[in-house]
């Protein structure tokens, strides 16, 4: 501060100091309660500091004092726009600790749910991201389709946001009759709608101006920064947990991992748009090839894994969602429950991304890394 002397510009004395302004925590484009302190030189961002914790509920501490089944409910409250993915990740980690085999049908249904969830999460992302940048229409369109997915989830597990849709060892209930037909019907609708979003944005002049060359980050730097998911793939790193360390039934699915080249906001957008299509491809394969059979494995009546620790990661819509769980083998709750939140690790790149850009681009970049504060703060 106070590094530059006031100057005489057109006969008026202007103050040319650097300016510190506060953005959030109550700000419509921070997607929750995120606070960013910006140091500005005119309208250019010199540096940014991210302040968080406004939504910290201590989910890790709470989980260490709940039993293994009760924790599924808490995982809903982390990434609340993709709750089913968090459920799957947690249940799979416990199954790994228990060395439990999950029936094939359950793994297929998990895959369908995860991918439906990815589409729902990306719908929310494309809507809010476009609205932050100024395109109002996409928001209304995307939420219309997200509603269809919420209806499917409601039919499957009775809830529309915090699903509690998974059980350790399998599924709570089999899919309702005719549900798979409705899923395929939805795929048919969604196919057309993705093109609709792309018509609105992909070649839109304003969209290109606002996203191309904004927040460029190279692959090596993004990897070192711990970025993950579509945000990392936009920088050209083909890292996808579904391909590299397959879980659920992803090893039996055919799909491609789209990657970007430029590593800017536009490429991250393109990657996510292609992920919509790949998700539909996976849903079609899993629904059409859904095997018959049991939906729950041989789960012990009292869940109490042997002493030991493990880390298991899945690909949530935001990136690598990992669980590090330690069991002491004595009590009916985990000794240590740790979540590796993808949004938190992506958010770490924000100060690096916004440096040198305009204030309006900060909004575009927060949207571009696709964070959910419930998961950042836990």
């Amino acid at each position: 501060m106070a590094s530059i002397q006031p100057q005489m510009v057109h006969g008026a004395m202007f103050d040319t100091n650097e300016l510190v302004i506060n953005m959030g925590p109550q700000h419509p484009s921070t997607h929750g309660v995120l606070r960013v302190v910006l140091r500005l030189d005119g309208e250019k961002v010199v540096d940014a500091d991210v302040v968080m914790g406004y939504l910290h509920r201590g989910i890790e501490k709470l989980s260490e004092n709940r039993n293994w089944t009760q924790i599924i409910l808490l995982t809903d409250r982390m990434d609340y726009v993709a709750a089913a993915t968090s459920n799957v990740g947690y249940c799979e980690t416990v199954e790994k600790l228990l060395q439990l085999e999950v029936p094939r049908r359950a793994r297929y249904v998990r895959t369908i749910l995860c991918e439906l969830q990815r589409i729902a999460s990306h719908c929310l992302w494309v809507g809010t991201h476009a609205m932050d940048i100024g395109a109002m229409t996409v928001f209304l369109y995307a939420f219309r389709e997200r509603e269809l997915i919420l209806d499917l989830f409601e039919e499957f597990c009775g809830a529309r946001l915090t699903y509690n849709s998974m059980r350790i060892g399998g599924l709570p209930l089999d899919i309702p009759p005719g549900w798979d037909k409705k899923v395929l019907e939805f795929c048919k609708i969604m196919d057309v709608k993705i093109d609709e979003y792309e018509t609105l944005l992909t070649h839109n002049r304003i969209w290109l101006e606002r996203t191309k060359g904004v927040g460029v980050i190279g692959g090596a730097e993004a990897t070192a920064l711990g970025m993950c998911g579509p945000t990392l793939r936009g920088s050209g790193v083909a890292r996808d947990v579904r391909k590299d360390e397959p879980y659920a039934a992803y090893d039996e699915m055919n799909f491609d991992v789209p990657i970007g080249t430029a590593g800017d906001t536009y490429d991250r957008y393109l990657v996510r748009m292609e992920e919509f299509r790949q998700s539909l491809r996976i849903i079609r394969q899993a629904t059409e090839g859904l095997p018959e059979g049991p939906i729950v494995g041989k789960v012990p009546r009292l869940i109490k894994p042997a002493a030991g620790e493990t880390y298991h990661a899945i690909e949530s819509p935001k990136g690598e969602l990992g669980y590090f769980i330690v069991s002491d083998g004595k009590s009916t709750n985990p000794y240590r429950f740790r979540v590796r939140p993808p949004s938190f690790c992506n958010l770490q790149a924000l100060p690096r991304l916004v440096r040198g850009h305009m204030v309006a681009d900060v909004v575009a970049l927060i949207g571009s890394i696709d964070i959910v504060l419930g998961e950042v703060d836990r």
């Binding site: 910290h56 920064l225 330690v326 240590r336």
Partner: protein, 220 residues
């Protein structure tokens, strides 16, 4: 290693089951003296094939211990050697762990070196994983790996915030999730589950009454 979800991982020796005699219902009242002193970290079975990057790490860093559980390799290194080990794992061509997936800690209060700091590493080139682990005492300094993986910056801040692990050489060691002026480290095992919180700040008398009522209820 990459195949974490395989139905049957390279079956490690399953640690001995805890004594089976106490009934599940009675376990809630087991006295605190029974607090565990650390994870079992079972050593790899004799016929396990040790990945080459671990063998080469053992040549660079002395005093390592290996563990294999559920198909995950863990290398326990002395706290003083963490930077050497991390740099080697990142730069050695057969290791190439360029991605720090997670960095966290576990608290084992009965132990002198009460914290396990755990680094979950991943290689985007070879697609394999390993976990590094160091044991540190309460105020023992532990070198920050921010210089090795930039990703460790916030992750170490969180471990500092939640456990109070004393990271040295960290560029920006502040609390991250809790308020700046917070007392104590919430994720430690001896941190109370429920406390005065806002009630104490706003109305200490009410809080005292509540505590008294609870204590009386407990006695009865």
């Amino acid at each position: 290693m990459a195949d974490d979800t395989a139905p049957k991982p390279a079956a490690p020796a399953r640690p001995a089951a805890p004594a089976a005699k106490p009934a599940a219902a009675g376990e809630a009242h087991v006295p605190k003296a029974a607090a565990p002193t650390g994870p079992p970290d079972p050593p790899p079975p004799a016929d396990a094939v040790i990945p080459p990057f671990i063998t080469s790490l053992q040549q660079v860093v002395s005093g390592t211990t290996l563990s294999l559980y559920l198909g995950d390799w863990t290398v326990i290194v002395p706290a003083a050697e963490i930077i050497t080990a991390a740099t080697h794992l990142r730069d050695a061509p057969d290791a190439a762990f360029d991605y720090c997936s997670d960095l966290t800690a576990t608290d084992w209060p009965p132990r002198a070196e009460r914290f396990d700091v755990i680094y979950c590493l991943y290689s985007t080139r070879h697609r394999h994983r390993v976990r590094l682990k160091v044991k540190v005492a309460e105020n023992q300094p532990l070198a920050s790996v921010t210089g090795v993986w930039t990703a460790a910056n916030w992750l170490e801040r969180e471990v500092f915030d939640m456990f109070g692990v004393n990271f040295t050489g960290h560029p920006d060691r502040r609390r991250i999730l809790m308020p700046e002026d917070w007392q104590g480290y919430p994720q430690r095992k001896d941190y109370p589950l429920e406390g005065p919180g806002e009630l104490l700040m706003e109305n200490p008398l009410d809080w005292l009454k509540l505590r008294q009522a609870r204590e009386e209820a407990d006695i009865e």
